[in-house]
């Protein structure tokens, strides 16, 4: 087991990892930028070191500074969290060369998951259904049109190096498709320095369902069930839950098997997530693989009772999976609280937190780095807190989450807590009738 772990991240996930380290008896080392000198992760960790100025490119994303900090602090391993360097194959590679453990998958697996066209081909080759579309990258607009006519419109043009909705375009006919191909390619070139795009059939009214995977270095792969992440805004998830309201035991077994096959095909180790689209007719399609611990991992933890971050650390140190086979119990729902103003087109909101009351009670968990007096910096991700409610059933979980969101009080910054409360209280959400764009109904 590693005895000293450097956490190459900030915010709530850094706090989450520090807590896991503490339970394992591992010394936690926080890195921080000048803007985070008074942040919670900096003060909570056993040790901390300043790695650079506020902009992330010069601190949390600056590989030489992170590696130097790990060496100076004699860290045995680095936990990258999510975002920042978590899916940088280059960073994982450099850790390996410097003999620093990387708590995550291999650089090769990260590369493969980041190259979406190649990942799709690999997973398809293992017998997992993927959305009908192009074999690999599209060479030109005419080829795209030919494929689209074969699989049927509408189609989605996606950047192979993409993420966060960038380099993605939907097209309903030939003319729009030709335009979409060039637009997506130039957007992808600008955003990722890689203009490669591929084509997928656009599955209408689909739901976004992902499966949590844990895999050890000995070759054991486990599926820990699904999370429904359909409710999004600008491709950013807002509310996640498990089990999905539309899941059946048969479908779960089939999708779990597909997720495990995908994981094996990628030769993947550690925590990861296989993302699927579920069409209204019950057909499911693999879309991509997330090579990291995810923001929404707590909902899986709440129904399984497992600590995924501790398990990540154990697996990365070479230990075999220690999780028993347990049937998930009850239902869990997570609401993400962003420091954004829903009444002002989700403008970012920064400032000093003047009052901070965090709810509690049975089945309520809060992962956050907020505290009274905290000065929310303007440089980083707006995610400030995650409220996760567990209940014996979905109804109880909804009730607890809605009440917790009402109770959640933070003054000094605007948040999306009220918006989340309106969504989970709605008849539509209670019915489980979800769609990606439903957030718009609750704004303003």
């Amino acid at each position: 087991m590693f005895r000293r772990i450097l956490i190459a991240n900030r915010g709530e996930i850094a706090v989450r990892i520090i807590r896991a380290c503490r339970e394992l008896g591992v010394t936690s080392i926080a890195v921080y930028s000048q803007a985070d000198r008074d942040s919670l992760h900096t003060s909570l960790a056993d040790e901390s070191i300043c790695i650079g100025p506020p902009p992330a490119t010069k601190s949390y994303l600056h590989i030489p500074s992170i590696i130097a900090a790990a060496e100076v602090c004699d860290a045995h391993a680095v936990h990258p969290g999510y975002g920042f360097l978590s899916e940088s194959a280059k960073f994982a590679e450099i850790c390996r060369e410097c003999n620093i453990g990387f708590i995550g998958p291999s650089p090769e697996a990260i590369s493969l998951s980041g190259d979406k066209a190649a990942c799709r081909a690999t997973v398809k080759g293992a017998g997992v259904p993927v959305v009908p579309g192009s074999e690999g990258l599209i060479r030109n607009a005419d080829e795209a049109v030919a494929i689209a006519q074969q699989i049927g419109f509408p189609v989605l043009v996606k950047a192979s190096a993409g993420g966060g909705g960038k380099g993605m375009r939907i097209a309903h006919n030939d003319v729009a498709l030709k335009n979409a191909v060039s637009m997506a390619a130039s957007e992808a070139e600008a955003a990722f320095g890689d203009s490669g795009v591929y084509l997928e059939k656009f599955v209408e009214n689909s739901r976004h369902i992902e499966f949590q995977i844990m895999a050890d270095a000995q070759g054991k792969v486990m599926s820990l069930g699904e999370r429904e992440c359909t409710i999004q805004r600008r491709h950013q998830k807002i509310i996640e839950e498990t089990p999905s309201a539309v899941m059946t035991p048969e479908l779960r077994a089939a999708m779990s098997e597909a997720a495990i096959k995908a994981t094996r095909a990628m030769n993947y180790c550690n925590a990861g997530t296989a993302e699927f689209l579920l069409a209204p007719d019950g057909q499911f399609y693999f879309i991509e693989f997330n090579a990291r611990i995810q923001v929404e991992h707590p909902v899986t933890e709440e129904v399984t009772g497992f600590d995924l971050v501790k398990e990540q650390i154990r697996i990365a140190s070479g230990a075999p999976l220690s999780l028993p086979t347990i049937e998930p119990v009850g239902a869990a729902i997570e609401a993400r609280i962003y420091s954004e103003d829903p009444d002002n087109n989700f403008a970012p909101s920064v400032g000093v937190v003047k009052r901070c009351h965090l709810p509690g009670g049975p089945g309520v968990r809060i992962d956050t780095h907020l505290f009274e007096g905290y000065d929310v910096p303007r440089y980083y991700d707006p995610l400030q807190a995650k409220i996760i409610a567990w209940g014996q059933d979905r109804e109880e979980a909804i009730s607890r989450l809605a009440n917790a969101l009402d109770e959640f009080t933070v003054e000094g910054i605007k948040t999306t807590a009220g918006l989340c409360a309106r969504i989970v209280r709605s008849d539509r959400f209670r019915r489980g009738d979800l769609s990606s764009d439903m957030v718009n109904e609750f704004v303003g």
Binding site: I49, C50, I51, P53, S59, A68, V72, C73, E97
Partner: protein, 177 residues
């Protein structure tokens, strides 16, 4: 050439009686220069030390200096931090300012073990003159003074780990008035 070989090369170079060596291999150029002679054009106040750590070995010696906020050390980006931590110990008295570490790493006062320190109390330092080494990712980054000054105090011990922004020297600028 991997990191291990590069480290060996640096060690051999340091103990050898030569001022400069240049090696070209598989399209990568590695240039080592002994301290006294070295001035690599300082890039406006920002360490370019190892921004491309794997392929960019030729950059490994970079003269860097803390961001150009010596007379008002909490200016620029660091104004955002609000608190003045130990990294910003500004003008104490008599016009003294600090030179802060531009990177995380290990501080070395001399070019090699057993050799005299680059600078000591009372030394007059020219702009661009090397004042110490910060080792980061096994690379020796020479830190140069960004303005002429007199060294009042060395604030860290040799071979001590330093963090970003940590004061290394207390100095009196020569052109401050």
């Amino acid at each position: 050439m991997d990191l291990e070989q590069l480290r060996e090369l640096i060690q051999v170079f340091e103990s050898a009686d030569i001022a400069e060596i240049e090696i070209e291999e598989e399209g990568r150029r590695i240039c080592l220069k002994k301290a006294a002679a070295t001035v690599v054009a300082p890039v406006a106040g920002h360490p370019q030390v190892a921004s491309a750590p794997m392929p960019g070995y030729e950059q490994y010696i970079a003269a860097t200096a803390p961001a150009p906020q010596q007379p008002a050390p909490s200016g620029g980006a660091s104004a955002e931090t609000g608190k003045s931590g130990e990294a910003e110990a500004p003008e104490e008295d008599d016009g003294l300012v600090t030179i802060n570490s531009p990177i995380v790493g290990v501080f070395y006062e001399a070019p090699a073990p057993g050799e005299p320190p680059y600078v000591a109390h009372g030394d007059e330092v020219d702009e661009g003159q090397t004042i110490c080494i910060i080792e980061a990712m096994k690379l020796m980054n020479e830190i140069a003074a960004e303005f002429p000054c007199v060294v009042e105090q060395v604030l860290v011990e040799n071979a001590e780990p330093v963090e970003f922004g940590q004061p290394l020297f207390s100095v009196r600028p020569l052109n401050a008035d």
